[in-house]
């Protein structure tokens, strides 16, 4: 293998690389996801794979893990040709992968989850012993009898890691592992990964969080639009430089010109809300206040009551106990349409299937939340022209890249669909907007566009609640910050007053008294 890249700063750069890829190309119907990818990984190296959403990171690691096969190109493991037909082949070659969306089974226990993912057969007792042994060694405590659905995201990730470690991998692929962890858990994970690397395991670390990558990784390969933009020694570059490599141009920061808060608009008192998901977290005794013109950021790892808080605020489910007051009047019993008539709009996390209906056209999707506020029906009859106009209006005002209002929602990219959904609510002049994971899975340009739109809305006097697990986003956009942990929140505090330690405490729930 010839390489023109400088291999500075790696410990074993002189040796044969553990894994090397060349000319990997993969296209789906009309999109080229990977184009002529070249990558090499040394033994014991923590190598970052960087790129924004849609850059082709996931496709590339799925090719390495044998989940999809490349159209062309070659892979070598320690100079032997490697062509996995399925993940079993990958595991045989001692490659393990921890997925961003865990490949776990909620109704099954930890032991069963691990056993089903192993190719070698162990006796039950032996395996249980090894699980406990390994989890102790790497600081990943696990009880084999716990039902997985009842565990936190951090604990679930441990199962995935232990499952990989049981096959003693030479290469561990981690796909966005910290997106579901709180700061303390992230620190723990990094310690585990460093220990593994020091024992000679290579780690391919996928992320778009540059601070983390700088802290953890040796080298980085940056992907953009399915191509390798650069492979570099991470210490030689500043965060801003890498960000520019990822996005392709310098990232504009959002602008806030005024901060004028009005009267208290929404007041939540002692709210209790049960989860619909049998493995979900219920909201317990939640108190919150927000003024018009204020942006409140609610951080915390998804699955800590975020969905439940959302449905309670949107009116999709009636609260079990407590009071929700809007402009001083009780709105507990109002459903989502009645709340929209008052000016309360919401944009849920799940775009396809909740905020929008995948198999319907964009103009039909407008009817989901605007039918009353935009007077789209007359005596119950749908005014087709009005819905089409409104959809077209959203498309042009919010720069939604699609043919026109007749496109199916499922045909839009994540970023474009999110712009459409946010635009749909914004055009109804909400007094209060509740938005869950506004830029999740969205490319940088679209994310920036959406954040600026939210800021503009607040400047015009709307109260905004942003629920997000992207801490950087919340600190950039919000006026006040709190975190939702185990269904409870601490008192919101102005973002400017918060230090990293405060945030860490809020996110790990240590401030909550029992």
């Amino acid at each position: 293998m010839t390489s023109t890249r400088p291999l500075t700063g790696t410990r074993q750069s002189q040796a044969i690389p553990l894994l090397s890829l060349s000319g990997i190309t993969k296209s789906f119907s009309n999109i080229v996801a990977n184009s002529n990818i070249k990558l090499s990984l040394n033994h014991g190296e923590i190598h970052a794979l960087l790129g924004e959403n849609g850059a082709g990171k996931s496709t590339l690691v799925k090719i390495i893990y044998g989940l999809i096969s490349a159209d062309s190109g070659e892979m070598y493991i320690s100079n032997t040709k490697y062509r996995p037909k399925n993940p079993k082949d990958a595991r045989k070659n001692r490659i393990g992968m921890v997925f961003q969306h865990f490949s776990l089974f909620n109704a099954m226990n930890v032991y069963e989850n691990i056993a089903v993912g192993l190719d070698d057969s162990f006796s039950e007792l032996d395996l249980r012993y090894r699980i406990i042994d390994l989890s102790k060694k790497y600081g990943l405590p696990l009880n084999p009898n716990d039902v997985v659905g009842n565990l936190s995201a951090g604990q679930q990730q441990r199962i995935e890691i232990v499952r990989c470690l049981l096959q003693s991998p030479k290469l561990l692929i981690m796909d966005e592992p910290t997106s579901v962890l709180n700061p303390m858990e992230i620190e723990q994970l990094f310690n585990t990964l460093r220990k593994l690397a020091s024992e000679g395991t290579s780690i391919l670390y996928i992320s778009h969080k540059l601070n983390e990558v700088k802290e953890l990784c040796n080298r980085a390969t940056v992907l953009r639009g399915g191509k390798v933009i650069r492979t570099c020694n991470i210490k030689d570059y500043s965060t801003a430089e890498i960000a520019e490599l990822m996005v392709g141009n310098s990232v504009k920061a959002t602008v806030r010109t005024n901060k004028i808060f009005g009267e208290t608009l929404l007041k939540i008192q002692n709210l209790y809300q049960d989860s619909e998901d049998p493995y979900g977290i219920s909201i317990k005794n939640l108190n919150l206040e927000i003024k018009s013109g204020q942006i409140l950021g609610i951080g915390g790892v998804s699955g800590n009551g975020q969905e439940e808080l959302m449905t309670a605020l949107s009116g999709e489910l009636k609260p079990k106990k407590g009071k929700i007051l809007f402009n001083g009047s009780l709105i507990n019993s109002l459903n989502s349409e009645e709340r929209r008539s008052l000016g309360i709009f919401s944009a849920p996390e799940e775009r396809l299937g909740h905020a929008a209906c995948p198999d319907m056209t964009l103009s039909d999707n407008v009817l989901i939340t605007c039918s009353k506020t935009a007077n789209l029906t007359k005596y119950g009859f749908i005014q087709k022209d009005l819905t089409k106009n409104l959809a077209q209006n959203i498309i042009s005002k919010f720069d939604v890249r699609t043919k026109d209002f007749s496109s199916l929602a499922s045909s839009l990219s994540g970023g474009n669909l999110q712009k459409f959904v946010v635009g749909r609510e914004l055009l109804q002049n909400p007094k209060l907007l509740v938005i869950n994971q506004p830029t999740w899975g969205v490319d940088a340009a679209a994310a920036n566009f959406i954040r600026q739109a939210i800021i503009n809305l607040a400047e015009a006097g709307t109260a905004v609640i942003i629920i997000s697990q992207d801490l950087d986003e919340l600190l950039e956009v919000s006026d006040d910050f709190t975190a939702l942990v185990s269904g409870r929140i601490s008192n919101p505090r102005p973002v400017g007053d918060l230090g990293l330690k405060d945030i860490g405490e809020m996110m790990s729930g240590t401030l909550l008294d029992d």
Partner: protein, 358 residues
């Protein structure tokens, strides 16, 4: 290599041609079936699809029969289609059909032999009510106890059949019938009879009602908010709830509509073509209507044509029984095949099949 790719825009053309392609495939494989039964496939297919409409000897009798058989299928299928769209599976229309007939029939038999112009309308209301009553059992159980409506509605078919058996040998038996099972013949009781509106055409009140129902429910589905709510509830229940739709409300309405229409069909069938309540009153319209609903793509206009087509296979099937001695069950297999081909090709509505060179 074959690749299945999702479509980015809806194609109405494909959606409309799929049922036609399914019918053609069914004819092809049905032909093979008939051939294997020792019949001439071309003759049999012609006798099913062509002769009832065009043959000089049979058409005069068969054409009105097609409408008479299509009417209950269309009425029931329209009702079912709303539920099916919303993922609410009422498969007990047969039972609701029976209960509509029993309830309306009871009033008619109770009033016999007094003549009154309000009896027939009252019986219509009771027919609808009987169907709604029977469908509301699975409806309420699903809405409030989350009980599987598929199984409950189906179980209630067997219960309804038992009630009908009890009625025809017990509480509704014709007192002048010298002990034979079965009620009085309501089609011979002028105030309760569902007569032909235009003599010789087969167009009775049920046929007229089914045509009105097609138009009414077409508008409800495509122009009215309710139709939108039904459709979105089927595709994304969460989006439906965000939109402000109460899922319980929708379950009860969808089952109510389908039950009411099935009960109505039962009432028209009892007072017209069937005449009396008897053990063999129901002939499976409630189940065949499931095929009709899918064949019509869960759309009232489509269901209208599907109902006519399915009635054609019934009437044509009877013809093949008389003329070719083809077993009655062959037609049932033929209808089942049609549903399978249709479901198989549904893939083409949402996906394109692409040939990919690797």
């Amino acid at each position: 290599m074959i690749e299945i790719v999702p479509r980015t825009q809806k194609s109405n053309l494909i959606s409309a041609t799929i049922p036609i392609m399914a019918v053609i495939l069914t004819m092809l494989f049905g032909g093979i079936l008939f051939w294997s039964l020792g019949k001439n496939p071309f003759e049999t297919i012609r006798m099913i699809f062509w002769d009832p409409l065009m043959n000089e000897t049979f058409a005069d009798y068969a054409r009105p029969q097609i409408l008479v058989k299509a009417a209950p299928l269309i009425l029931i299928a329209i009702g079912l289609s709303f539920g099916f769209r919303a993922n609410i599976w009422n498969i007990g229309a047969e039972g609701q059909f029976i209960m509509g007939a029993i309830l309306s029939g009871s009033l008619g038999l109770y009033m016999y032999p007094q003549e009154s112009s309000i009896l027939f309308p009252l019986m219509i209301i009771l027919g609808i009510f009987g169907g709604i009553l029977w469908a509301s059992i699975p409806g309420l159980l699903r809405a409030y106890f989350n009980t599987n409506e598929i199984l409950v509605s189906l179980m209630l078919v067997y219960v309804a059949e038992q009630i009908m058996a009890a009625a025809s040998i017990g509480f509704l038996r014709n007192p002048d019938g010298s002990g034979f099972p079965g009620s009085r013949n309501l089609s011979q009781y002028p105030s309760a009879a569902n007569l032909e509106i235009i003599a010789g055409t087969g167009i009775h009140w049920g046929v007229a009602t089914s045509i009105i129902a097609v138009l009414f429910f077409y508008i409800l589905l495509h122009k009215h908010k309710f139709g939108f709510q039904v459709s979105i509830s089927g595709i994304s229940p969460k989006a439906a709830r965000l939109s402000g739709i109460n899922p319980k409300f929708l379950i009860i309405w969808c089952l109510g509509i389908s039950g009411g229409l099935a009960g109505l069909a039962g009432m028209f069938e009892l007072t017209g073509p069937a005449g009396q309540i008897n053990i063999d009153f129901n002939v499976g319209y409630g189940f065949t209507a499931i095929i009709v609903a899918f064949l019509g793509r869960l759309n009232p206009i489509g269901i209208f044509f599907a109902g006519i087509l399915m009635a054609l296979t019934y009437v044509g099937g009877e013809l093949t029984q008389f003329m070719l001695n083809l077993p009655a069950a062959a037609i049932q297999v033929f209808q089942g095949m049609l549903l399978f081909f249709l479901l198989s090709m549904d893939l083409l509505v949402n996906y394109k099949i692409k040939l990919k060179r690797s």
